[in-house]
Symmetry: C2
Subunit: 410 residues, 2 copies
């Protein structure tokens, strides 16, 4: 018998080349450190559990488990496409957003993070180009980077570069432009919203590049004030006449409105794209937990609109507290966004201040946490920025935390 | 404004090259057709929902939702590694299987399908080689194929080829051997078990190739008779002295013992490999639904051993019914496996009989369904084979269905 015990517990030489692009999320690593109860955390951006509709969720589980037929299907394997009544609810929801569609246009995913990973896997070959804003959602960069793209930068509000400029840069990088990706409403990390005119320009650019648009709408329901901007998919359906001719893949989620704990989101797109994504879902994990989808269907039916109203009221108060505290305490030379919704304020520090260094001092000296902004840049720039979330601390803690943080900056 | 409406609803030219390898699972497509109540289905291989511990699961949900603190964490984002008490249960379970390990050796996945996809993503570059049996689990082929490998064939019971033979073929194919993959116990699709001697040889081969071994144990708990064979990871830990020096990644799941509906499985492997897989989990869907993991922890603690006993008794009776019916009705020239556990019997038909053609006739003329065997071969061979699952129909239906099917063969 040949006994060749493993000389090492790593298999680095056996990894695919994509493994070198897989990196830890600074946010998730940070979250682990924040169980210390005396820290005021602006880091997470996770919803306040006080908003979760526990009674409705608890009743939904109880009702399903009390009905042997429902329990049997909730605990069994199910279709990769999603639980049909939930899919029907989503179809109705998309219709209300200006996107008439059918079941064939929907696949249910484990939150919108899984949607991002699926679309990256479907579209990106090594050295292809993904067009993203700078900064952008770092979880999207994580999901896409496994597939070894290069990134190029969209600047929606300033006017983007010409299609030829993007195409030529992509070709020089060894691939082509595969998609544009944006978080148009109260975006993670800046809290800013892309105007309707800029959305039209993005659709124009994507049409000229003949590539899909990934529209990440995680925060879109959480508007506190101002006027709703139509979703890009609705605008594109209006242009093209039909969801099946749209180039927009709409990424939806219940995580910021109902609960992230059930891991339920969806993609709405042309039936042809959805058919591909269903294959990916099959190969990836067969299906989302059926019972979670059944619960989410009942909860969305019972209280979606009401929960959205509650979340808006709570987060609006906290945003107000944060903006007031920033105005009261931050020294000259510090600027920040004024979001009309969502969970985030984006702060630009004086050029010489490093966000990561500030975080270390903030945790140690002021017991305050946030996310340094450079994590949201594909190229690691933005050292003098930080993302502040007001979603979890009380208004009083927000006022206190910002005052403490400002002292370190000033 | 440039309006260039999408001329097509497909984005085929924008797909990554891997998209051409993404195919539908014949089984899952079949399952959709089997809602007709008059069909006797040997197709699925899904567990009998009569076994699901509904009372324990229902009580677990109720208890969690009744405790505001537990509810808040069950409905919130959670760590990518997994819910610590569930991870601790798994650590204990692995210890009982002869694999002493710690939390650092475990990542919780959405069933073992997600584990397969993660390991494919981590290890396979295009044209690399995956060593698999022929036939093998088709969901594994689906998961791996997204990463564009070539396949070469393991023949554990006949003695495998030399390491050099595999290495040279892999190099000729444009890559290297990245892993061996087996379902050692009551494997899907054949129901057969790899002997301890053949497991040692597979470990030898993998050591010579210096590659990980993916050990898929989906059915391992369901032994009806005979003697347990140690899991390959336990054998490898005995050889190497420590889980962190083992080359085996153990893929475990609760799907066949407790319920597949919560989508909870795990990987046990060296801490270094687990750290990589946790990054992949983060990028893929952040974490498994926390509440499902909390429920699974309570259910596993309350009744894992008891559920395994119940499942063994039920499926043993059905296996007996199927083997008896095959012996009674199948014509000369048809052979089949005699599994000591699991959910499947594998049938080899006379060489001129095509399994796919037989299925069409079986559904139309005999109201019986099964899975044609060629789907389980990476090269599409095995046309004269079929997989029969006895997991769902009653013993009487099994006897009736096999009799009807045999008439079509004879």
């Amino acid at each position: 018998m040949t006994t060749a015990p493993a000389a090492t517990n790593e298999f680095e030489p056996r990894y695919a080349s994509r493994a070198s692009r897989m990196k830890a999320s600074e946010i998730r690593e940070l979250l682990k450190l924040l169980d210390q109860p005396d820290i005021i955390s602006f880091a997470g951006g996770i919803p306040d559990p006080a908003l979760f509709p526990n009674d409705v969720i608890g009743k939904a589980y109880a009702d399903i488990m009390a009905d042997p037929k429902q329990a049997a299907s909730g605990l069994q394997y199910s279709t990769s496409e999603g639980y049909p009544p939930l899919v029907d609810w989503i179809v109705g929801h998309m219709g209300r957003l200006g996107v008439p569609c059918t079941r064939d246009n929907i696949v249910v995913t484990n939150g919108s993070q899984q949607a991002l990973e699926f679309l990256g896997r479907l579209l990106l070959s090594p050295n292809d180009t993904a067009l993203v804003t700078a900064p952008t959602y770092l979880g999207a960069l994580q999901a896409f980077s496994s597939y070894e793209p290069r990134y190029d930068t969209l600047t929606p509000e300033k006017g983007n570069r010409t299609p030829a400029s993007y195409t030529e840069a992509a070709a020089a990088g060894g691939g082509s432009v595969k998609f544009t990706y944006v978080v148009p409403d109260f975006g993670n990390p800046t809290g800013e919203t892309i105007s309707q005119a800029a959305r039209q320009s993005l659709l124009d650019l994507s049409a000229e590049l003949d590539c899909p648009v990934l529209e990440d709408t995680a925060y879109a329901a959480l508007r506190f004030e101002g006027t709703d901007v139509p979703c890009m998919q609705a605008m594109d359906v209006a242009r093209s006449g039909h969801i099946d001719r749209s180039r927009v893949a709409y990424l939806g989620t219940f995580s910021k409105t109902l609960t992230p704990g059930l891991r339920v989101g969806w993609i709405c797109a042309s039936a042809a794209l959805i058919r591909r994504l269903v294959l990916i879902k099959q190969a990836s994990d067969l299906n989302c937990a059926a019972i979670n989808q059944m619960v989410m269907h009942r909860v969305a039916t019972a209280c979606y609109a009401e929960q959205v109203q509650k979340a808006r009221a709570l987060y609006r108060g906290r945003r107000d507290a944060m903006l007031a505290a920033l105005a009261a305490h931050m020294p000259v030379g510090v600027t920040w966004t004024k979001p009309e919704g969502g969970l985030f304020v984006w702060v630009t520090l004086p050029p010489h201040v490093d966000g990561a260094a500030l975080l270390k001092r903030a945790v140690a000296e002021a017991k305050v946490a946030f996310v340094p902004g450079h994590a949201f840049y594909a190229d690691g720039s933005g050292r003098n920025t930080m993302r502040l979330s007001y979603s979890l601390p009380s208004e009083a803690k927000i006022a206190d935390g910002i005052a403490r943080l400002a002292k370190l900056v000033g």
